[in-house]
Symmetry: none
Subunit: 163 residues, 2 copies
């Protein structure tokens, strides 16, 4: 049959999904290569299949780009001018996080903060509050981990990264 209109929805059939994953991953890498070459830019693509396999491409290397990304997104201590444009930006008011591709069937526990209406000052206060909570959470998690030493196979808690 000829190709039908692409419905961007999760493919249920496992084999078919994997086939599509392979094809599209190759296409994605090719696009990334072309972008890097034509525009002389650094680019990295990292994918994880459902099976847990990691596929990554990067120019000049995945690690270079990742490290630079981490450096760029980590808080600069001083006045720094590293532009970060995350492709999840909803400039519209009630921000819906775009990271979840599918959200009709999920029941996420989330805060609903009217961030869009907040001013700079309130945002700064919110940041302070979040830092404090984050500390509580990390302490609590570490407490749980240390109290369940046997079961936990040394998977260290890497740490509630919110950067």
């Amino acid at each position: 049959m000829v190709r039908t209109k692409v419905e961007i929805k999760r493919i249920e059939d496992k084999a078919k999904r994997h086939t599509t994953f392979t094809k599209r991953r190759q296409g994605l890498f090719k696009k990334a290569k072309e972008l890097a070459k034509r525009c002389d830019a650094q680019a990295a693509v990292i994918t994880f299949s459902l099976a847990g396999n990691v596929f990554a491409f990067g120019h000049p290397s995945v690690d270079d780009v990742v490290n630079r990304y981490i450096a760029a997104t980590s808080a600069p201590e001083e006045g720094n001018e590293i532009p970060v444009h995350k492709e999840a930006e909803k400039k519209d008011k009630d921000v819906v996080i775009e990271n979840n591709v599918d959200q009709e069937d999920e029941e996420t526990t989330s805060f609903e903060l009217p961030v869009g209406d907040m001013g700079m000052e309130e945002l700064e206060q919110l940041e302070v509050a979040m830092v404090q909570i984050k500390k509580k959470v990390v302490d609590r998690i570490n407490g749980i981990i240390s109290s369940s030493k046997d079961e936990d196979l040394g998977l260290p808690y890497t740490g509630l990264t919110l950067n």
Copy 2:
């Protein structure tokens, strides 16, 4: 003129290169989104323009994928790969996270979270929620910044360090 065959070589003209970069970056992100959605896979794309601007997309988030990549690639080779458990469907809990952010009456913005009573699962949900809020805040801050300047050439907000 109509389009000619693509020659994947570095574009010399600066303006044209930037135009192409923008177009292709959008296309690349779109492809990544489709891959993530159709194949239910994790994917991240990070690009740096020559000007040094960072553009990143990730599902469920750039940082999630990056962290998993780091974990997967820096894992001690003994034995097997790291499961990196997750994907657990979020059962709705009564993790009622109360935030008393009330713009009308409240002066202070603060959370009161009974973290000490929470179990690991709830903590994980809380982490997810915090990440989402953090994104909202960053987006909002960047929105404020970019609307104060008429171009995104101004330095964006990269702070909000919660590590």
